[in-house]
């Protein structure tokens, strides 16, 4: 009967999905047996005892202890069984294995953002390696949302100001659908994402290259995102105020004087060098405290930061 299950349910992309489907199908056949009995008796009695003439007296049948006990106790035992079955699978799925890969998910009207342990960020597409336990840590920036992955049979409401989690181990590589399942306003039905279950190599390659969204963004917008995400903003302001480091405002094309007395007109190469080897030239009046970002930024992100600084006239 697998074809029948597959007709009713989405693909099974985890072991948990298979467990859920087993219980689903058990309940289906159990309730179907009751339903067919109810229908049969209802229709059969209505047919067989259809009124033939008016004004007849009928039998006085008000109690049958055995019958009444049977139809109270048997369903009770069955539903208690279903309760334990459902609870066990639920409890098992809610415990995260110790070696889980943790990915942060943020819901916001009406998109999803994913943050990976190495700082990579992606929008509307979640990449995970196949057969690796994943723990999603989710929160919302505005109203309630819900993160729903049908092929994994998992879902959780997402609440502003609180973290909730989902654990899963995806076993089927490919692209799967993610929905927002808690009503959140105008574009609720458009608040979707793709789950990419990749081979370990493909996942590593993707992390290296970064999310394809990065390549679609305006370079200056990407630069602004890097400035926020990588913590540049804690030392470099964009409004001209002095921080731990020089402000980005009006930086491009300015003549900077360094601690060794030399000067330079700020250009692309100077900015690139300052990011990758910050101690090479330290602007006069500042401490040499900036760490290197060698290996922490992708080429496209460095270009983005340069574009962003150019925009801050």
């Amino acid at each position: 009967m697998n074809w029948f299950r597959d007709w009713m349910m989405p693909m099974q992309a985890s072991e948990h999905a298979a467990k859920v489907d087993n219980l689903y199908m058990f309940i289906f056949w159990l309730t179907m047996a009751f339903f067919v009995s109810i229908c049969y008796l209802t229709v059969a009695f209505a047919w067989k005892y259809k009124r033939k003439k008016e004004g007849v007296l009928t039998i006085n049948f008000q109690h049958n202890l055995a019958l009444e006990l049977a139809w109270s106790i048997i369903p009770l035992i069955l539903v208690i069984g279903v309760f334990f079955w459902g609870f066990n699978d639920y409890a098992a799925a809610s415990v995260a294995p110790n070696d889980s890969l943790e990915i942060h998910v943020t819901g916001k009207k009406w998109s999803w953002t994913f943050e990976y342990p190495d700082g990579t960020r992606s929008i509307r597409s979640l990449h995970v390696p196949v057969n690796k336990p994943i723990r999603l840590i989710l929160t919302s920036e505005d109203v309630l949302h819900a993160f729903f992955i049908p092929v994994l049979r998992t879902k959780t409401d997402i609440i502003p100001g609180r973290y909730v989690d989902i654990n899963f181990t995806a076993t089927v590589p490919g692209k799967h659908q993610v929905f927002c399942a808690e009503y959140c306003g105008k574009d609720h039905s458009g608040m979707m994402a793709d789950l990419f279950v990749d081979s370990p190599e493909k996942y590593a390659e993707w992390l290296e290259k970064g999310d394809e969204e990065l390549y679609k963004m305006k370079p200056a917008d990407l630069g602004k995102m890097v400035w926020e995400m990588k913590g540049c903003n804690s030392c470099h302001t964009v409004d001209g105020k002095k921080g731990e480091g020089p402000s980005f405002k009006g930086l491009f094309g300015r003549t900077e004087k360094f601690t060794d007395g030399s000067t330079i007109v700020v250009d692309e190469n100077y900015i690139r060098e300052s990011i990758l080897n910050p101690q090479a030239k330290v602007v006069a009046g500042f401490e040499p405290v900036m760490p290197t970002f060698q290996g922490l930024l992708r080429e496209i992100e460095i270009k983005g930061v340069i574009a962003y600084i150019k925009e801050l006239k």
């Binding site: 009713m8 349910m9 989405p10 948990h16 859920v20 219980l23 689903y24 339903f35 109810i38 229908c39 209802t42 229709v43 009695f45 209505a46 005892y49 259809k50 009124r51 008016e54 004004g55 007849v56 007296l57 009928t58 006085n60 008000q62 109690h63 019958l67 009444e68 139809w71 109270s72 369903p75 539903v79 208690i80 279903v82 309760f83 079955w85 459902g86 609870f87 699978d89 639920y90 799925a93 809610s94 505005d142 109203v143 049908p150 879902k155 959780t156 409401d157 609440i159 502003p160 100001g161 609180r162 399942a181 808690e182 009503y183 959140c184 306003g185 105008k186 574009d187 609720h188 039905s189």
Partner: protein, 549 residues
């Protein structure tokens, strides 16, 4: 009414207390009446109008979903349409439908009383209901509401539109519900006819009584919750919005603490009607009277401790979820017992398949589906997948519409001759009932499949793979609409006829069938004395009511 003295009936019955209630009094005296029958009839027309309004929104929602993307309205209009459909159907139609309309009319007569315990309070309930309805309509035309009927925070405290006004309407309507419940509890305790012990009451009374207990105990919690919501929206008092230091999940606990019992406020009266129709139309003693009576009370009590099953994915603790799941399965057992009792009552009966019984048979099948699909949703691991999908939408429509509304229609057809003194066209009624049955299943069966396949609810747009099932569902809604159109036709047509209904068209034995159709203003000439059981169809009929005919 103006023609009172010109009708032949009025001329033959010169004494005031002999005039049937329909022809007793002017329009103004109707609007200020304390007669439970007139109030029942006024409630009936009010809720039927609301049912029509909610139905129009339902048809619009289904029409929009005929194809993915924009069909007849944009996303914001769609969100308002499904919110208004839900809010109108729940607060303005289903909750008052059976207790306030049919219950008001039938309950005092079934008990052998002249009226409810507090007739003036009853009038107050009606006008509070009308006030709430007017406020709700005002909210609809001044901005509308797009929160869903559940008003979940913090969406509801931050979105535009007339949310405060709409929740205030639900707040006001709650008082109408509380006062009606209070009135019924007092009436059942104090106004039973001599000889009518608790276990000689018709089962309809047990159902309405259990409902009244929930109305009185649960509705105040909704009132407080909605008041807090209004306070947060209007004055920034932080209760639910985390930005103000509140907790959005607290709102869900409060809301479902009322709204889950409210599900039983809706279904218990439906079950109560079926418990009248089945023995009367089968001419059979009720099988398991006490089990059915007590199961109503058991449902009323357990219904207070299962609210968390709406929140398995909400972030409540796993232990709480497990307890709620377990209790949810327990509350299913009394409902199952009732179904078995109704079916066994039909065994070896003399069953008439007139319209009320057709609705009762439809109820058994549709409630079977509605109840049994609840087992999928009670099982935690399965619910995580099905929660907030079309599976849930289909499940609660099978319970709310397939069961409560179908039972209401059964009750309407059962008591229509008593209320208005006229028989409707039986053939038209059967055609309409069958169309409603087919239309209902065509609309909602495909939704189970959509839901298990992962289609989330409250979606304006959807993936192309769901198109076919959505179209089947929409076509079903048209068949359903046609069924209701025919019903409106033959019911209105019956009111234009002269009075032709016999006192007891169904040969039933409860007290309302022992007085004329329609009843006289004071129901009974003499206080009836009860010596028999309500469903003793195994022996010749001994009327308890003296002085009529």
């Amino acid at each position: 009414m103006a023609d009172t003295l010109t009708t032949p009936k009025a001329q033959t019955h010169v004494e005031h207390h002999d005039v049937d209630y329909l022809h007793d009094g002017s329009l103004l005296s109707w609007l200020t009446t304390v007669d439970h029958k007139k109030l029942g009839v006024m409630y009936l027309w009010s809720i039927l109008f609301m049912f029509f309004l909610g139905g129009v929104f339902a048809l619009l929602v289904r029409l929009e979903l005929f194809a993915p993307g924009h069909t007849i309205m944009d996303a914001e209009q769609y969100n308002k349409a499904f919110t208004l459909h839900g809010a109108i159907m729940v607060f303005l139609f289903i909750i008052p439908s059976i207790p306030a309309a049919l219950g008001n009319f039938v309950l005092p007569i079934m008990l052998g009383a002249k009226d409810v315990a507090f007739p003036r309070l009853n009038l107050a309930s009606f006008w509070i209901y009308i006030t709430g309805a007017l406020i709700a309509v005002t909210a609809m035309v001044t901005g509308g509401v797009d929160t869903g009927w559940t008003f979940y925070t913090p969406y509801s405290t931050t979105t535009d539109g007339s949310v405060a006004l709409m929740t205030f309407a639900a707040f006001v309507l709650g008082f109408s519900s509380i006062l009606t419940g209070l009135n019924f509890i007092a009436t059942v305790h104090k106004l039973r006819a001599p000889g009518m012990g608790w276990f000689k009451m018709p089962l309809f009374i047990w159902g309405i009584y259990s409902t009244a207990i929930i109305q009185v105990l649960a509705t105040p919690v909704l009132a407080i919750t909605l008041l807090l919501l209004i306070m947060e929206r209007a004055f920034g008092v932080g209760v639910f919005d985390p930005k103000l230091g509140g907790d959005p999940v607290l709102f869900q606990h409060f809301f479902w603490f009322y709204s889950h019992p409210a599900v039983y406020i809706m279904i218990l009266p439906g079950m109560a009607i079926i418990s009248e129709i089945v023995p009367a139309m089968s001419q059979k003693t009720f099988f398991g009277y006490k089990a059915t009576a007590f199961s109503s009370v058991a449902i009323a009590i357990v219904s207070f401790v299962v609210w968390g099953h709406h929140m398995f994915t909400s972030g409540q603790s796993q232990l709480a979820g497990a307890i709620f799941s377990f209790l949810t399965f327990l509350v299913g057992i009394p409902s199952a017992i009732k179904v078995f009792n109704w079916i066994t009552t039909m065994y070896k009966g003399s069953i008439s398949l007139a319209a009320p019984m057709l609705y009762a048979l439809m109820f058994l099948i549709l409630f079977g589906i509605g109840g049994l699909t609840g087992i999928f949703l009670g099982a935690m691991s399965v619910d995580i997948h099905l929660h907030d999908t079309y599976f849930v939408v289909a499940h609660f429509h099978y319970v709310m519409m397939g069961s409560t509304v179908i039972a209401f229609l059964g009750g309407l057809h059962y008591w229509w001759p008593k209320m208005f003194g006229r028989m409707y066209n039986e053939s038209a009624a059967r055609v309409s009932a069958i169309l409603i049955f087919i239309g209902f299943n065509t609309t909602f069966l495909p939704q189970f499949l959509m839901g298990s396949r992962g289609m989330p609810r409250r979606y304006y747009n959807y993936l192309p793979e769901f198109t076919f099932l959505h179209q089947v569902s929409t076509v079903g809604s048209w068949i359903l609409g046609l069924g209701f159109l025919i019903m409106a036709g033959y019911l209105f047509a019956s009111l234009r006829k002269k009075m032709d209904a016999p006192a007891n068209p169904w040969h039933a034995r409860t007290l309302e069938w022992q007085i004329p159709s329609p009843p006289i203003t004071h129901n009974f000439h003499e206080v009836p004395v009860i010596t028999t059981e309500p469903y003793d169809y195994y022996r010749p009929f001994e009327p308890s009511v003296k002085g009529h005919h």
